[in-house]
Subunit: 137 residues, 6 copies
């Protein structure tokens, strides 16, 4: 299995609901350093997993939908805790959609899986990984 990983980051505000969150129920914020690993069983004819320029741009575009925002005000997240786990899944879903729309190039349709890791500090991170179902032609 081959993989390529690219990194970007985003800086957001949010608060959580639920006793388990303690002081994080207050409005606070986080920098998430985001690593996205694209996986596929073999490389393409150019010798790559994905066009790293397009992958970087696609990640930047996804990050831009979240960056410099108070996630408590985002309609898409109403009633949800925007935990690090949840945001890792959100980035995953939006990248899978970008691949399906062809934004990472035709070759990227061979991507078999993605792992998204959000580092929230030097001592904590969360990740979501899953298969990428090829879009129907």
């Amino acid at each position: 299995m081959y993989s390529v990983t690219v990194r970007d980051h985003m800086m957001i505000a949010h608060s959580f609901s639920g006793d388990v969150f303690g002081p994080a129920r207050r409005l606070h914020g986080a920098t998430y350093v985001v690593d996205v690993e694209f996986r596929r069983p073999d490389v393409d004819a150019d010798g790559i997993v994905v066009d790293i320029g397009r992958a970087t741009d696609a990640l930047k575009a996804v990050v831009a939908t979240l960056n410099y925002r108070n996630l408590d005000d985002e309609p898409a997240f109403a009633g949800r805790n925007t935990t690090t786990e949840f945001l890792a899944r959100t980035v995953f879903d939006r990248l899978v959609a970008a691949i399906a729309r062809g934004e990472l190039g035709d070759g990227a349709r061979a991507i078999a899986g993605i792992r998204v890791t959000l580092h929230e500090s030097h001592v904590a991170s969360a990740a979501y990984e899953g298969p990428v179902t090829p879009p129907r032609a």
Copy 2:
């Protein structure tokens, strides 16, 4: 698959038996920076893999059983080489026991797997990962 990773560290002394260890047969020591990744297929109703506060406390409690010690004097390790691999497994086993005792909360009983990585320097690490068998009710 979702995961959450927390980090702590411990500083121990030990020595090894066996020609393969060369100068490490002498009494020496190590700082182990310990990363523990908790995995489960889905998040709970709060949107989390595990209560990160409890996970951090549980790791701290496990690390405290090893920290600032000469492992050559630990009865539990008599006759064993406390290699980085062995200590990764030890941390794993003790965390699994903590989960079974309910110390990470009831939700943590849904944790499906754990990966423990011990970084012994900027150029070497060891890890142990395995499934977490749910305790019998």
Copy 3:
């Protein structure tokens, strides 16, 4: 010159005023990984710059005054942009005050200077450093 550096982190929300800040004028947030370097010309009789336990606790106490907060609501910061530079200075001032109150121990009164670095992402940080004026006896 000797120094000791300890690390902690904090997760805050804030917004900025001023055209220079662009999208950061919106309410957003940051994780700041905080490094504090304590400097003095010579070590004490125990061979240390500062009691690292007390230094860590003092940093944790300062961080706790900022952590999990929306800094826009902090009276102490009214009318100020809580930039990374400003917060580095804030942590510096509060640590100097803690030293003056004796919270880092009597030996810490020999600390000659402090450098506070706040890492806001994997690609950006800010710092403030200055001398520590010994408190009058």
Copy 4:
């Protein structure tokens, strides 16, 4: 599953063919920080995955076949793009061959899998992982 990871690096020049590479079609270069993870289901009688000294030497030997070179001039790579993905596979193949030759010791024949990660910058890496087929006796 247990694993041990060791790190080394290499500094090479190369150029790529194909429109997808943009400015990287020009002769340029890279430092690759190389992480190799050796995996096996259980440790040996000494409590280790692999003799870390031999593993480090084997990685150094593989890196030496690539280091301080213009890969465009390497006959072994004629007609191929020496992408990060391709080089991760190359390091993998050469380490598997070293294991088969017994250079990591007899115990290393129990290694079940290897993951090679090449970090090309603070924001990009590529990896290849695969099983290690035990050599026939």
Copy 5:
């Protein structure tokens, strides 16, 4: 003293002349992860050392003059060894010129010093630091 640090990277090929360089006399390459620290005694009215967006853009522009190139072919470097030290100084000089041209904004003219660090691997880096002489009006 306040400072702000931003990071970028570049990937170049080059070779060195002189026995001291050993195998690095061959054409090879490097990724340089470039950290630039901007220093000034006080922050401006916005509470910042420099517009971090402009600083990042200025660094990107400087890096673009070196990135994806064989430095042996650059007329500006004819007869010079483009060592990490030399390149740190080059980045410094080009940033000072950018400040003088006003590319980092008028406020940046108060920058008193710059430190440029080039990380060439996980075990080696070089830096150049110096004062920034304010341009004559």
Copy 6:
């Protein structure tokens, strides 16, 4: 001012005397990741601060005098606490002596200062820096 920094590491056991050390009075250990920064006002005719190969070898030789040892048994340290600060100074002194003996080459006699940083974990480090007095001819 130019500088070059190289990294190595060592793994030692030791214990401390003095109430301030708490549990670290017990025999324990540490991995120290050692960064040595060599500084000089200008580079030499080859464009370098120091022969990085020789600097790396000199650091390795100094580290070898401490590595895989119980420092409590070292006659040179009798009656001393081998704190991180103390060990940073020890590495400094031994490197200065190596320079004086010419082990880093004649050019290294122009080195004006050295900073030695010992990272003992992901959250703590200590450093010693000072001028290098040129040896009398």
